[in-house]
Amino acid sequence: MFGHIGLAEISPQVVSFDEERSIALVKCSREGVQKLRATLALIAEIENSPTAAFVLRVSGTIRSLRQRPCIEFFPKFRSYS
């Protein structure tokens, strides 16, 4: 979406990934937050599987994201074509 320069500006790094709940903790530059949000919102499929990515919380520190649970309940849904 934003090319190599954009990627350098955003500098996304996956800090941790909970496979059971499919929740990732991603770190990025402060200036790149909106671009990263937009990129995640535009994801429609990964390896030919329909996919939707939602940003659950944004915080200035990783510690606060780890302390408060991101979600207690996320509605189940599936793709209907």
Binding site: Q34, A41, Y80
Partner: protein, 238 residues
């Protein structure tokens, strides 16, 4: 606290499970108002059933009709038939003639150009006191269309720039016919910034602008309205 609205949900009319999932997901994502789109051919009991599912999920529901037109006469006929029955009237213009008439008609709430984006550029040009809003559907950008993604985004950016120049208000909606295409409001606002809106405009396009459109129409369609700009304030018994 900011209230968010998604004015273009298209749940499958014959799939109650998908409707329920969309309603629960929209509520979870913090939407307070949704516009549920129906077609002219949908029966009233189906419409009521779908409305009830969204209302039960805790959402405020605005009924919406999507009309796809190619000519002036078609537009005028559809508006006469449907204007008073739906809170939002959205027009998909498939020709420049239809677009020219739609953007001047005060009965049109929303203009969206999804199919037009894949063929040629249509440009908005306000010449009258119309209150039509330009709607950008996220699903147009997300779904793989005939055009490459960067061309689609460039066309949408041009349309938004033209709309801003002509003082059209812009709404961004998900256009979701499936829970997979719903997105959180702030994520949609972030896409709006990508498409040429600044941060304030992008947030308004998913909050105050759609909400004020629905509130205005509800007042107009309410029992106290008896003509253009004429409202009954009270009735005195004598």
């Amino acid at each position: 606290m900011t209230k968010f609205a998604d004015l273009h949900l298209k749940p499958p009319i014959d799939n109650a499970k998908a409707q329920k999932e969309m309603a629960e997901l929209a509520r979870y994502l913090d939407y307070s108002l949704v516009g549920v789109a129906f077609r002219p051919s949908d029966k009233s009991d189906e419409v009521n059933r779908v409305r009830k599912i969204f209302l039960d999920a805790g959402l405020d529901v605005a009924s919406r009709i999507d009309i796809s037109i190619t000519s002036r006469n078609e537009l005028l006929k559809e508006l006469r038939e449907f204007r008073r029955n739906f809170e939002i009237v959205a027009i998909e213009c498939r020709s420049t003639e239809a677009l020219s008439v739609a953007q001047r008609d005060a009965r049109v709430d929303v203009i969206y150009l999804d199919s037009a984006l894949s063929s040629r550029a249509f440009h908005l040009n306000r010449a009258g006191p119309s209150s039509a809003h330009l709607e950008i559907n996220m699903s147009t950008v997300i779904r793989r269309q005939r055009l490459p993604e960067h061309v689609q985004i460039a066309r949408i950016r041009n349309e938004i720039a033209k709309a801003k120049e002509n003082r059209f208000r812009i709404i961004i909606s998900s256009g979701a016919d499936n829970p997979m295409y719903l997105r959180a409001p702030r994520d949609i606002a972030a896409v709006g910034m990508l498409l040429g809106l600044d941060s304030g405009e992008a947030l308004k396009s998913i909050s105050s602008i759609p909400i004020s459109l629905v509130n205005k129409n509800r007042m107009i369609l309410g029992p106290r309205e008896c003509g253009e700009s004429v409202r009954i304030l009270g009735i005195r018994d004598e």
